[in-house]
Amino acid sequence: MLFFSYFKDLVGGEVTVELKNDLAIRGTLHSVDQYLNIKLENTRVVDQDKYPHMLSVRNCFIRGSVVRYVQLPPDGVDIELLHDATRREARGG
């Protein structure tokens, strides 16, 4: 649940989602759920020429299980806070 709440804090930020089929999509994070399914808005595909069918897609839903990486904005992670939360979760509290 830690990363779920982490992504919930990130809502509204600009992220790049790289999928397991090498498709990379950049967009504004609109919402996220417990499976880390992601909904992006104002999307554009990083390598547009290779994926012509994605040209007119503006908003999309991405299934959590096909995500390889989520590239965050540079100031998107408070490392101290994440360390803290991770340790707390590892202790089981």
Partner: protein, 206 residues
């Protein structure tokens, strides 16, 4: 004859006339209903009255509700105030139901159609679905009809912007037979490339 009619009448009268108050509240508070309607016999069989008490017990306390009366939806999702924006599948199905969508599948297929239903596992029902086959600069839409897609096969569901071009202008539409041929040629080319690379491996080209 008269006695039979009498018992029927008493049975009808003894049937509880209203659902439980809590269930009624759920119906009023939620804005999304999925009716296991009588138009889909298989569905109504699955949600037959016999199985409902168990289901009701199983889902007690969760946000899924199984409803008991025939004239009402068979289940509903108890909405929290912000669900329609914070739960991705709900946000998506609220905003985009009955719009034209593109579904990318795990095997690389691209399906286009109108979204009829959708859930958190990305199971989807697509009406008037067609498969878009793209080979190089050629493309073709092969129509498929009504499709139910199991969520595990879905990579991405995207809304198509109707104001923008669906495909770049240099791409041309061809017939189904032509695209099949182009697909075959492309597959043979990649196979050949693979086998040639394998044969020439000893040369150590890099």
């Amino acid at each position: 004859m008269g006695s039979i009619r009498k018992t029927c009448v008493t049975k009808l009268r003894s049937r509880p006339s209203a659902p439980l108050p809590s269930i009624r509240r759920v119906i009023q508070s939620s804005s999304i209903h999925h009716a296991g309607s009588s138009r889909y016999p298989a569905f109504s069989l699955m949600c037959s009255r016999k199985t409902q008490p168990d289901n009701a017990k199983r889902y007690r306390g969760s946000r899924f509700r199984v409803l008991s009366r025939r004239d009402q939806p068979k289940w509903s999702w108890k909405m929290q105030p912000d669900d329609a924006t914070t739960v991705p599948w709900l946000a998506f199905s609220v905003a985009f139901s009955r719009k034209k969508l593109l579904i990318l599948l795990r095997d690389g297929r691209k399906l286009l159609g109108i979204l009829r239903s959708f859930d958190q596992f990305a199971n989807a029902v697509l009406e008037g679905a067609c498969e878009r086959v793209i080979v190089g600069d050629l493309y073709c839409d092969i129509s498929l009809g009504l499709y139910v897609i199991r969520g595990e096969n879905v990579v991405l569901i995207g809304e198509l912007d109707l104001e923008k071009e669906e495909l770049p202008p240099h791409m041309t539409r061809v017939s189904e037979t032509e695209i099949k041929m182009a697909q075959k040629v492309e597959r043979e080319a990649t196979d050949l490339k693979g086998s040639m690379l394998k044969r020439m491996e000893f040369l150590d080209m890099d």
